[in-house]
Assembly symmetry: C2
Homo-oligomer: 225 residues x 2
């Protein structure tokens, strides 16, 4: 039997992965960045084939990883995680440095960044896995812990975007808590769920100017499930 | 420039990865287990080519992942992380279940386990990356957080074993703190460093029955660096 709750026990960080150039750059939120060999140090990241950034990584053969800090704002996660670079210039207004390979590196809410040259690409199904060799790295703030996916889920009540490797189709989760007296409200922009069972305040009792903690969508746009 | 300290900002969990069978099973500590696609849910793990377990995963085409809990004891990390299955039967005395594929699953200090059938193997240099499809998963304890590599390093003062993808050659780390008045003592069994600069107690002042927090090696065996 597969209990999908077990998948949430795997630990991840949260990162902004960028690629492209000064003229055409883009990025997305990733939780799958990890070291795969120690000598030389190589890292892998998975990118959904539907992501706008996938083509940029393929053509520039490079990408950057900005490590988000534990208190990263909803703004940066909303912009890079729940919008598409096909429709918006995600880097507009962001603090960006350009790396040795020319890829953009997002500095907002970042405690460190790593820049990679792609040495191998593996097709893993819905995603491409890019394996990269280190070009440069920098620690920007050594006093703050990185944001973990567990913290993002438990404290920030965030959910994985649809293109993430860890996206969870809600129907797959066990239905043990179905007979609830609490209601759930879904953000139409990013899929964030306000679950009254886990909150101290009923949705209706939230102030009118309350916004989605993930993407900033207005309360009035939420859909009762 | 590459600042190797930046590599420590990437988040990982800590797992016991096992393979083989009832007759010949083995496992090792891994921090690189991660989901690579959501549909179907596929996971990857990296295993050093020198690890005894690598041959078992290749021949059985399956492996299990036990998610360690935040307070996992030094015993399990010492056994699976710093000993070789070539010399010892690591599973002896452990609480083990055998999966649908026949691989051993370690239950000690585990809050969940996942069992995989290997669908692809990628040679990434010093390590092989095994990509697996879910066979079964189970949550064993939903009240305790998983152990993160950050917690293991910061709170438990642990270091990565030599065969880990995240093993760090100490000479690579920046030498900014070289002119210290504190001494460092290294565990000859597992490489754990007792760094007086980071501890409240000088090494000599530790009780004689103090043992390595990682592998249990005796204080008298430590080597002053």
């Amino acid at each position: 039997m597969i209990n999908y709750e077990a998948l949430f026990k795997i630990s991840y960080g949260l990162y902004v992965v960028c690629s492209g150039s000064k003229e055409q750059g883009n990025g997305y939120i990733s939780n799958t960045v990890f070291q795969v060999t120690s000598d030389p140090p190589r890292f892998a990241t998975c990118c959904n084939k539907d992501n706008h950034t996938v083509g940029l990584i393929e053509s520039s053969a490079a990408f950057s990883v900005s490590v988000l800090q534990i208190d990263a704002g909803a703004g940066i996660i909303g912009t890079f995680g729940y919008k598409s670079g096909k429709d918006t210039d995600k880097l507009k207004g962001m603090e960006v440095r350009y790396g040795e390979t020319g890829v953009p590196i997002v500095l907002n809410d970042a405690i460190a960044f790593l820049e990679f040259r792609v040495v191998e690409t593996v097709d893993v199904g819905t995603h491409l896995m890019f394996i990269g060799e280190l070009v440069q790295t920098e620690v920007l703030d050594d006093t703050v812990d990185p944001l973990s996916y567990l913290h993002y889920r438990k404290v920030k009540k965030g959910v994985a975007p649809k293109n993430a490797p860890t996206y969870m189709d809600k129907s797959k989760l066990e239905k043990s808590k179905v007979e609830q007296v609490f209601a759930k409200y879904e953000c139409p922009a990013c899929g964030y769920i306000y679950d009254e069972e886990k909150e101290d305040v009923k949705f209706d009792d939230l102030p009118d100017d309350w916004v989605c903690p993930i993407c900033g969508e207005e309360k009035s746009e939420f859909i009762k499930l």
